[in-house]
Symmetry: C2
């Protein structure tokens, strides 16, 4: 199977805000006013949680279909904590990103709890976003 390529283009509008084009869609990433931002969009680290929730939905529905049970409703609460000292450069021994991410899955279905726990395991092993977060992903940042 050939690789699929994804890309976005982001223009900085001010020190906290970018306008992002991804195909026909526009996304605004910003910071809240209390962090010095212009508060025109969710923050970068909230976009990470949104990406994970979106991925869990897609893979969750796909895997439920494979496993042969019906999902009547599905929602997610995703949260994470980080210590700002890391990205502010005030502590070298603190990682700048989330220390842990927790996704709580609220599902109404015709499956029993054992089946649902198996379902979660399969989702976690196949969701691209959970893979990129829970395992190291090579990242190259360079001048254009």
């Amino acid at each position: 199977m050939p690789n699929a390529k994804f890309s976005v283009h982001a223009e900085s509008e001010n020190p906290t805000k970018v306008k992002i084009k991804s195909g026909k869609f526009t996304m605004i990433v910003d910071e809240p006013a209390n962090l010095g931002g212009t508060d025109d969009g969710a923050s970068p680290v909230e976009y990470v949680l949104a990406a994970l929730a979106g991925c869990l939905n897609v893979v969750g529905n796909m895997v439920a279909k494979e496993m042969g049970f019906e999902i009547r409703s599905l929602s997610f609460d995703v949260e994470g904590e980080m210590n700002p000292a890391g990205f502010m450069g005030k502590a070298k021994d603190v990682r700048p990103g989330y220390q842990e991410i927790v996704a709580k899955v609220n599902v109404d279905s015709d499956a029993d709890e054992e089946t649902l726990n198996k379902w979660l395991e399969v989702i976690e092993s196949r969701c691209p976003v959970s893979d990129n977060l829970s395992n190291a992903t090579p990242l190259k940042i360079r001048l254009k």
Copy 2:
């Protein structure tokens, strides 16, 4: 410095689409029609790239200020490749997520190239999103 907590709530609207609430902001994550989606928003893996671009902008501007140079304009092209066989469960030896993520930084500034390369190094070491992608992040996915 105390930890900062971030969270989102996501409601599944159909097998590919979620509506996400993050404070006062709403984000729609979906899949394109050619992947069986309803094409109402960027895809989960594009949200990952958007998160990274947004983070590079915030940290890039912060670090430039610390280093004492001026950014006149800044944009990013962020891309990644993955093999769909992974998340489709058709190949066990293929990771489901991005195999690599490349961020090209287009900056117009009054700094020389050596300074800009140092700038990129500092950004990469302090950006929360690049940390969570390039290093393993503990992830807990559980039933609510």
